[in-house]
Structures are given as C-alpha cells and as structure tokens.
Amino acid sequence: MFTDSTLLFVALSGIFAFSFYAVLVAGQLSLGQAGFAALAAYTSAVLAPDPAEAGDAVTLAVALGTGVVVGAVAAVLLGLPTMRLRGVFLAIATLGFAEAVRILLVNAEWTGGAQGMSVPKIVTPGVAWVLLAVVAYLFWRQGPTRYGRALAAIREDELAARATGIDVGAHRLAAFVTAGAVSGAYGALLAFTMRFIDPGLFDFASAIDGLVMAVVGGSTVWFGPVLGGAFLTLVPELQRAVGLEAGWIRPFLAGLLLLAVILFRPGGLASFFPAGRGTRPLSRVQASGARGDTAADDGPGAPGGSGADTNPAGANLAGTVQASVQPHRRRAQVGAGDVVARLAGVSKDYGGVHALRGVDLELRAGEIVGLIGPNGAGKTTCVNILSGLVPPSGGAVEVLGIDPVRTPVHRVAAAGVARTFQHAKLFGRLSVLDNVLAGAHLVTRGTFLRRLLWLPSARWDERAAVVHATACLERVGIADKAGLAAGELSYGDQRRVEIARALAADPALLILDEPAAGMNRVEAAALGDLITSLASDGLTILLIEHDVGLVMRTCDRITVLDFGAVIASGDPAHVRDHPDVVTAYLGTEAD
C-alpha cells in the first residue's frame, strides 16, 4: 500500500524527531535542529564525492560523516553561549540560529541561493531504516544509564539535579550536541534523498514538524520519536488510501488527530505501550539479599508508611545496609571530630532585608547539629549558602575543605554535601528507584558507552547501583514503593525518598531542611531514629526542623536563629533553658 518513498520518509522523520528527543529528555526546548540539518545537508552535498565515481556506499559514508560532524560542531558553537538559557528563551535563541542559517544559505553563492542545488539520490529505504535503527538503538541504550538518568533528572528538576552532583551545564551541552549530530545525520540523508535541496526544506515549519513528531510520539520514551515520525508521515497516506476526498478535509483531520493525541495522551503515542518505564526494581527475593533492617521504621498503621512486609517494627540495625552493599566508590571519610563545615561571620542581604547577620556555625564530623528558629529566621538561607546555591554577602564559608562560594553547586555536592529541600524536590515523573539512582550519580560509574557495546561490566555496575539504591530505600523504609512514580507518593513518603536520594550520594555532610514536615508523630519518631543511626555511621548532619521535640531528642548541639542572627548555641539542655530562646522562639513561661 505504501510506496518506497513513504517508507523512506517515515524513517527520515523518525531520525529528525530523535534530534528533538535528544534535548527534550534533558528538558531543553530547542528549534535549532533545522539549522543544524541545513548546514549538514549543504556541506555534505558539496563535500561528498559523486556516487557515479566513488560508489553509493562511499558517498553515503562521507555524507553521513560530514553531516554528523557539521551538526555536532555547530551545536557546540551554538550551545556554548546559549546553554544558560532555559525554556522558551532557548527556543527563541535556537530558532534565531536556524533562521540565520537559512538566510545565509539563501544568500551564499555556493548553495545556489533560493534556487537550491541538485544532489544525487542514493538513499534507499533500507539505508534509512538501518540508520533509524542505529539512532533508536543509541537512545534505547542511553535511557537506563547514569548519563540517561542524569538527563532525566535535569529535565525534572534542575536545581535538585545540581544538588545531587550532576554537572548540569556539561550534560545539557552533551544533549545539545547529540541533537546536533543526529539532526546533522538527518540533513545529510535528506539531501541525498530529495535530489534537490533548497533552504525552504529547513524553514521554521520543518523545525515545528520535528518538534511535533517528537512530542506526539512521546518525548520521554526512547521509541516515541519513531512512532511520532510514522504517525505524521502516514496520516496523509492513510487518508489517501481510504480514498478520503482531497482538499481541506485531510489537513483538518490530521490536525484533529494531533489534537486528540496531545489531549488524551500527554505522554505521546508511546504511552500506549507499557515498555520503557525506567529501571526495574529488584524483586523481593533479590532485594532481601541486599536488605538490612531499616532505621526509619514505620510503626504499625503509620499512614503512607511502607508495607507490612518491609520489616518488623522496632529493630534498628542501621549501618548493616551500607556495610553490606558497597557503591562503586566510597567517598573520602572525614576523621571523627574534624571540622566539616564552618560559617564565620556570614551575612546575607536581599535588597534591604538582612536574612543573615554575622552567623557563626561549626559542624564537626559525626555531629547532629540542629538549626532552629521561627519562620523567616534565615535557616534555609544558611543551608543554601552551605550547599553553594546562594553566595553570602559577607563572611567566610568553608565546607569539606572547599569554598562553596566559588565552587559550582555540583562540585560542592561532589565534595560530600547532600541535602534535601524545604519543599521536596523530587524528579516527579521518574520512579522512586530512579530518583535514588540519580542521587547515586557521584558514586556510580558511567555505563552508557559500555551499555552500547553490551559489555557485561555495565550490567554488573547497573545492578550494583540498583542494589545500592534499594539499600538506601530500605534504610528510609520505602523500598516497597520503588517502582512508583515519585510524584504520586504522599508528602511524607516524598520526604523519605528525598533523604534516600541524598544518602545514595554517600555524603559526608547531610543537610535536612525540615524533613519531618508532613509526617505524623510516629513517622517523625522513626525519622529521628534514622538520623541518629546515620550519625553513628560517621555522617555529619545539619537538621533544620520546626518539630522542636524531634530536634531536642536527636541533636548533639543546637543553634537558634532569630531575625538572621544566632541568639543561642549549645547542647539541647542549654538551648532549651536559654532565656532569649524561650522568649523569641518557644514563647514565654507566662502562658
């Protein structure tokens, strides 16, 4: 029913859609692919030898190589200045690039200008489908790897990804260059398919077509672009095949179909298929091998708690988990009693607001330090300065031997700082397990290239990472929910996943920003036990919490902030009885 060229165009569309998928998986909206494809098409058409002399295979190889290189190089050059842009701003910048390329091609001599240039046709449906398969293979293998998860994490929550230790800039650029290379391959193929290329082939509408194909197919599942490309290419063919009257009705129906897919299948056509849903959790039997008893144990009947089979109540054998399963790299441990982090005279002003005023704070290895104070006292600002998210206005900061002011967030994380956020920042559409695996970014090895080659070591590494992540989930008592999407969990469970994700990085300093918010008393008590057990493993913990009871029970030392200044610091008993604290925070005895 379909002609050769229909098959050919389905494959080409799929490849082009993949170039959009390449960046959409990392949460980037780029329309520059048309420009990359145009540059690649013209360059390869000029550089590739005449197939009549060199043979089709040689011409095709040279053209493809040229296209991929040109596309990738153009993406690097465009990516370096634009990778800081987000969302629609990136879309506009890349669109501007594509338009500039089009204008250049229209006005250049060697391109034949608007009148285009002739190119021999050598691409057959077989060649196109083989290449589509190669591209699809790349993205299929990329998905469940450290690299693939890092991209997904950036897409879901960039800030959390950075705090997890993912170098967001490098990963975004890598995704962008991948898009450039794939669209370059598409451009070269298109040139040697169409017989005749003109700048109109790579105009704004073509970029939109590519984007629509990627989104309609499904921009988070590796085979989505194939479905999207096939869908958009075949709709006119099907309409013709069923003998639908030509004219406005066909584009109208095609538009309606598109609308229906987007409305009822926001995940794209790929969501009709069950495959490709993230990393598979360990089965219960496998998991039991990795399981110690968890510290954050749910009491019976705790709402949102883990299932009854997760573990019996009470036992607290924290440490056995981490001892039994080693991540690939253990982080350098800090000697007991060494200074882990120090704030000296730190202040922070937001305009005229003094969020912090001359705060001194010192954390020593193995300590649990509580940071409390009324709302707006500057606790979260303190944490943000420690983790490198916010530069202080004055004072000195040192964390694990580095200066977070001058260090990118992911390097602060790499030094051993892990944190949770006041409002849980999970990678919502990823599974709980994938969230924690993304958290293990710093302690696992890259597996993408080895997975491409099916090296067994990649599978072992991936499996070890899953075991490690599962252990972290066990430890916070939520391993039975590993397969659920993180965004579907209750608030209390989300906080626990966040802690597991932070633990997965095997940090030296763990900063918990109001971890008990949204938890009931039973859960909060279990959380307290977990925190204590973590500290006994040598982890240093900074705990920000409104549940004063929890802080008093758990912490070795407590620092109290009020209006940005430290009003008391010392052991729990000292702080509890401190008159300023009583007045400013706990209320007066008079009532």
């Binding site: 285009g116 109109g200 082939l201 066909r250």
Partner: protein
C-alpha cells in the same frame, strides 16, 4: 508562498501496465488503439495522474489547475474515441508528498503524469517518472532546467525566460524606457530567477538600470525602498515578486507618488492585484502565458464559456495551462493512437503548432513549450493586452 515558487508543470499520465507495457490493463482493456488522429479509438481508458498542490501554500494555484484538468477530461471523454481516467492528488505543497505521489502514480502504472504545481517539487519528483519511463507534462513550472531532467519531462508552461523578454521588449517600445529601477525578493527561487531574466532582458534592450533593490518575500513595507527608487527618477520600476509582496508594493509606490509604470513578472499575474490594490494597480504591466481576453480564437471562447458554466467564475492562467496540458497529452496519444507511456512520450515530441487555448503551441527539442506570450496592462481594473 513558503516553498519557492510557483508554478508550473503538470504531468499527464496514462495508465497502462507501467513502462514495460503489456497491452492490457486490468481496469479497462487495451491501450493500443486503432485509427489515427481524430479517428483514433482506444478501447480502455488512458490513466493520467495529476499531482497538484490543492492545499497548503500553493493551494490557490492547485485548485485552478484541478478545475482546468477536470474540464479537459470531461471534454475529451465526451468527444469519445479515447477516454481518460484522471486521478488528481494533493501534494499539500510538501515536497515529500510530491515525491510519494509520483512514485504511487508510476507504481499504479499511469500512462502520463501532470504536475507538480511548484518548480521545487518538480526537481525532486520528476526524476521518478523519468526513471520509470512515464512521460510528464508540467503545466505551471517556469524555472529553468525543469525539462533538462530527462527525455520524458515536457512542459506546456512558458518559462520566465520566455515571457519576460517579450514583456520587456513590449514595454521598452511603448514607454520609451531608458532608465529603470529593479526590485526583487532575493530569498525565493522564483522571484530570484525572474530577476535574472529581467536583468538580462533589460541589458539586451539597452535599458539602463539605475538601481537594484532587494527585499524578502515576507516583507510588506516597501516605503523606504520605494523612496530610494523614486530618487533615481526612473521611467519604470521593474519588479520580480510574488503576489503577496506585489500588492503592498504597488499600493505604496502610488502612495509616495511614484507614478511610473510598474512592470511585474508572473507573480503579478493574478486578478487579486486589481481586487486588493484597486486604483493603484492601474498601469501595471504584466507578461503572461495567457489572458482571457487576449487570445482570440474559437477554442479560447469555448473554454471560457465552459469554465464559467462549470465553476461559476472566470478561469485564470493556471486553469488554462492545465486544460492545455491534458489536451496536449490527448494530441500526443492520438498522434500514435496509443495510450502507452512510450507512445505518448513520442507523441509529445511531435506537437507542432497545436491549436490550444494558449494559442498555437509547439513543443520544441528541449521539450519546452513555445507559444506567444501576452503582455498585459491593467486598465480599468482589468488585464488587457498592451498595444
């Protein structure tokens, strides 16, 4: 028009069993006829495919073309002897669809193909017919090189290279041109190639070009350019632009007091010019392959009447060229009295002085059409032949 330019070609295809051409078709009998010329009788209908841009950017041209083709098919089938099975398909002004359609037509074994509407698509799709040995008749492609793609590719549409020199010569004589300003959009294949022909024709006529100004196909504000043009005090302004730019350009030229004749290429050849530019369009000179009033012969009169009766409006040049396309194929079929692709191809080569609605039409050795162009000037809101 997003995809380059216009116009041009169509193909007619007759169905048979593809190039290898066994005598019978499943659909309706032999394509090998008896008799010759007007007496030729072919038992089966001759399948002809037409790939036109019925929707998308070039949709307005495609509609006229389809009307012209269907009218021609109706006339031919009424006349008898040889009947045609015309299949009109929409390429949605998309090159890929054009390629697919050509492939589908050749796979289905049509005897000839008409189209596609746009020159760009023609470059991409016609080689498929060439490779399959199916003759093509282009009905609206004006770009150079269309028929150079192979011996099976023909056209009945005049190229800009044929129309523009005639236009320039006529205007030079009637207006005593000495000094002109040339304006064109440089990012469109059609208008750019039109400009090149204009420039050559002006040089040949010895007309001096005071200034050459360029703009983009999408531009709508020409006042700065026109002001600059006015400074050169030209005898005429020569413009190669599509109709979308032509209308504001002409309107704004009159606004700023630039009242010299404006000479346009084929892009101006559209009644919309008078509808939308109104008074300002008066005096605009446009070369064309056909004008409803200019070609005075019986065929043309009948065509006008039949088209009006069928579609309730006057035909434009695209309808006339499409009508001619199928009529020319019919002549080729009758020349050998065979509906086989090979015979049609040979027949097309013998077309010499065929009476058509476009006038006396010859297909030359380069497989391009030759007939007299019409130089028109807008007078009282109508295109009339320039005397």
């Amino acid at each position: 028009m997003r995809r380059t330019a216009p116009l041009s070609l169509a193909m007619i295809a007759l169905l048979g069993l593809s190039a290898c051409g066994s005598g019978d078709t499943g659909a309706g009998g032999s394509l090998q006829g008896e008799g010759s010329g007007a007496d030729c009788t072919i038992p089966g209908p001759v399948p002809v495919g037409a790939a036109l841009s019925l929707t998308g950017a070039a949709g307005s041209y495609g509609e006229s073309q389809r009307n012209g083709l269907e009218l021609a098919a109706a006339h031919l089938n009424e006349q008898g002897g040889v009947t045609y099975e015309l299949t009109v398909e929409d390429d949605q002004t998309d090159e890929r669809q054009g390629i697919t359609l050509f492939e589908q037509f050749t796979d289905d074994g049509v005897s000839a193909i008409i189209g596609p509407t746009l020159s760009t698509t023609a470059f991409q799709a016609q080689p498929i017919a060439q490779d399959a040995g199916v003759p093509v008749v282009a009905i609206s492609n004006t770009a150079d090189g269309i028929t150079e793609q192979g011996e099976y590719i023909h056209r009945v549409s005049l190229t800009e290279g044929q129309v523009i020199p005639q236009t320039v010569a006529a205007v030079t004589e009637s207006e005593d041109l000495e000094n002109v300003v040339v304006m064109y959009s440089d990012d469109d294949a059609f208008t750019e190639s039109g400009y090149e022909v204009f420039a050559q024709a002006l040089e040949d006529e010895g007309v001096e070009v005071a200034e050459t100004l360029t703009f983009s196909v999408a531009d709508t504000d020409f006042r700065p350019l026109l002001t600059e043009a006015a400074k050169a005090e030209p005898d005429a302004v020569i413009v190669s632009a599509l109709i979308e730019a032509a209308i504001p350009l002409v309107t704004q030229a009159r606004e700023i007091g630039l009242d010299v004749p404006i000479v346009g290429g084929n892009g101006f050849n559209n009644p919309q010019l008078m509808t939308d530019a109104g008074e300002a369009a008066e005096g605009v000179v446009v070369g064309a392959a056909w004008n409803s009033a200019a070609t005075q012969n019986e065929l043309n009169t009948d065509f006008l009447a039949a088209y009006e009766a069928e579609y309730g409006k006057a035909p434009d040049q695209f309808a006339a060229q499409a009508y001619t396309g199928l009529m020319t194929i019919d002549a080729a079929v009758r020349a050998e009295c065979s509906g086989e692709p090979e015979a049609i191809k040979d027949g097309l080569g013998t077309i010499d002085g065929l009476d058509t609605v476009l006038g006396s039409l010859t297909i030359n050795d380069a497989r391009d059409a030759e007939h007299e162009a019409v130089v028109q000037v807008v007078t009282d809101g109508e295109f009339v032949a320039l005397d």
